[in-house]
């Protein structure tokens, strides 16, 4: 079965979505990712959607859900590389993903996760 690879980089998990998401794939990703967060005790999840051209309400909601689930497992999610057209679509669908942190590209996303790991709240320092 088709799967989206989840890479571990230090304390963080890296997910790069390179294919068009369909609903089954999204559900699989959700399962895999939560399992991996629990297994690796990851602190941050970075989801790169720069190759994603089409996002419907289901995928939008799934991104929100993944972020919420990760937060429950004490990992913060950053969604990076959203295309302008995708951002407009999500806003028009009424999905502004309030619980998700965003960054323009992977580099800035890593910065965001890194700054948090070294943050003063202590909980996340290795």
């Amino acid at each position: 079965m088709e799967r989206i690879p989840i890479l571990k980089m230090g304390d963080n998990l890296l997910v790069s979505i390179q294919v068009d998401m369909h609903d089954r794939l999204a559900m699989t990703l959700q399962d895999d990712l939560t399992a991996r967060i629990a297994e690796t005790r990851a602190r941050g999840v970075l989801i790169d959607i720069s190759a994603l051209e089409i996002v419907d309400s289901f995928i939008g909601r799934m991104l929100g859900n993944i972020a919420a689930m990760a937060r429950v497992l004490d990992a913060r999610t950053v969604v990076v590389g959203m295309r302008p057209a995708v951002a407009i679509t999500l806003v028009e669908l009424g999905l502004s993903l309030p619980g998700v942190r965003t960054a323009l590209n992977v580099e800035k996303g890593m910065e965001l996760i890194g700054s948090r790991a070294a943050g003063p709240d202590g909980r996340h320092q290795a």
Binding site: L90, V91, L104
Partner: protein, 289 residues
């Protein structure tokens, strides 16, 4: 059958065309709507001659007499379009252009009366047909005029939208979007697209939306602003709304618009200061004099 019904009009148009033409031109020149300051006599003569010729050609071929949208009238319509366009450029009003066609009625009616004086029923019938035909042709010129205007308005609207949404780079990583004029859905769409594209191009992390030039903020405008902010946030950029005038602050609160999640500032300068601080930059007095 059609050609026989056509006969009265055709006979008066076809018979002694040059005489009819000069009568018609005389009527046009005498009319108060004639703008001799805008149109030269020989130009008028040329237009009248071509129109009369085209009209006669269609009638002779037995073209559908009432329906001027039929293919047989194609050439006449093109000619009228040409005349209407030229006259609109010269500064004629639509009614003055339509009168060009309507004024042909008078010489035609005079001739019909002469030909059919013995048969009032046929005369009334022929006059009715002539009048409907010329009315539809005359109204067609008005329609063309209106269509030209509408195209112009649409084009100007498009130009205005493009002109009024510049995104400027204030500093490395700081964008400003000075909005001027009312925000409607179409404009919001353009504003959003331009801003998001610029965020991608420059890699900016902060965007300041300045609404000093937005005259009124109602719930719809506020919603459009919040949508833009949300879309920019999805791209990883933070938005600051600046240029909120006191009246607008009052309206926003009275309307119950929730701007809690957005940083708002009264002036662009304040917003810029915040943006610099967020970017880890500072502006201070220069030591060197």
């Amino acid at each position: 059958m059609a050609t026989r019904e056509q006969a009265p009009i055709l006979s008066v148009i076809g018979w002694d065309e040059s005489q009819l033409l000069s009568e018609w031109i005389a009527h046009q020149l005498a009319a108060t709507t004639m703008r001799r300051d805008l149109l030269k006599d020989d130009e008028l003569q040329e237009q009248s001659r071509r129109f009369l010729g085209a009209l006669r050609a269609v009638l002779q071929n037995g073209g559908a007499e009432q329906d001027i949208t039929a293919p047989a009238w194609g050439e006449t319509r093109a000619l009228l379009a040409d005349i209407a366009q030229t006259r609109a450029r010269q500064g004629f009003s639509p009614s003055e252009t339509a009168t060009f066609v309507f004024s042909l009625k008078q010489p035609l009616f005079e001739r019909l009366r002469g030909n059919l004086a013995r048969d009032p029923a046929a005369l009334a019938d022929a006059m009715w047909k002539t009048t409907t035909l010329l009315d539809s042709l005359g109204l067609y010129t008005t329609e063309l005029y209106q269509k030209g205007r509408e195209e112009m308005i649409a084009r100007q609207q498009q130009e205005m939208i493009e002109l009024s949404t510049p995104v400027v780079e204030l500093w490395d990583g700081i964008l400003a979007l000075p909005l001027i004029g009312t925000l409607d859905s179409a404009r919001t769409q353009v504003v959003m697209e331009t801003l998001l594209q610029k965020i991608v191009d420059t890699g900016a992390g902060i965007a300041i939306i300045d609404i000093t030039g937005v005259p009124t903020v109602d719930t719809l405008v506020a919603q459009h602003l919040l949508k833009t902010v949300a879309a920019a946030r999805l791209m990883g950029a933070e938005c600051i709304i600046s240029g909120i005038r006191p009246q607008i602050a009052q309206t926003v609160v009275h309307l119950g618009v929730d701007l809690q999640d957005v940083i708002t500032k009264a002036t662009l300068a304040d917003a810029f200061a915040i943006a610099l601080r967020k970017a880890g930059l500072a502006v201070g007095p220069s030591a060197a004099k």
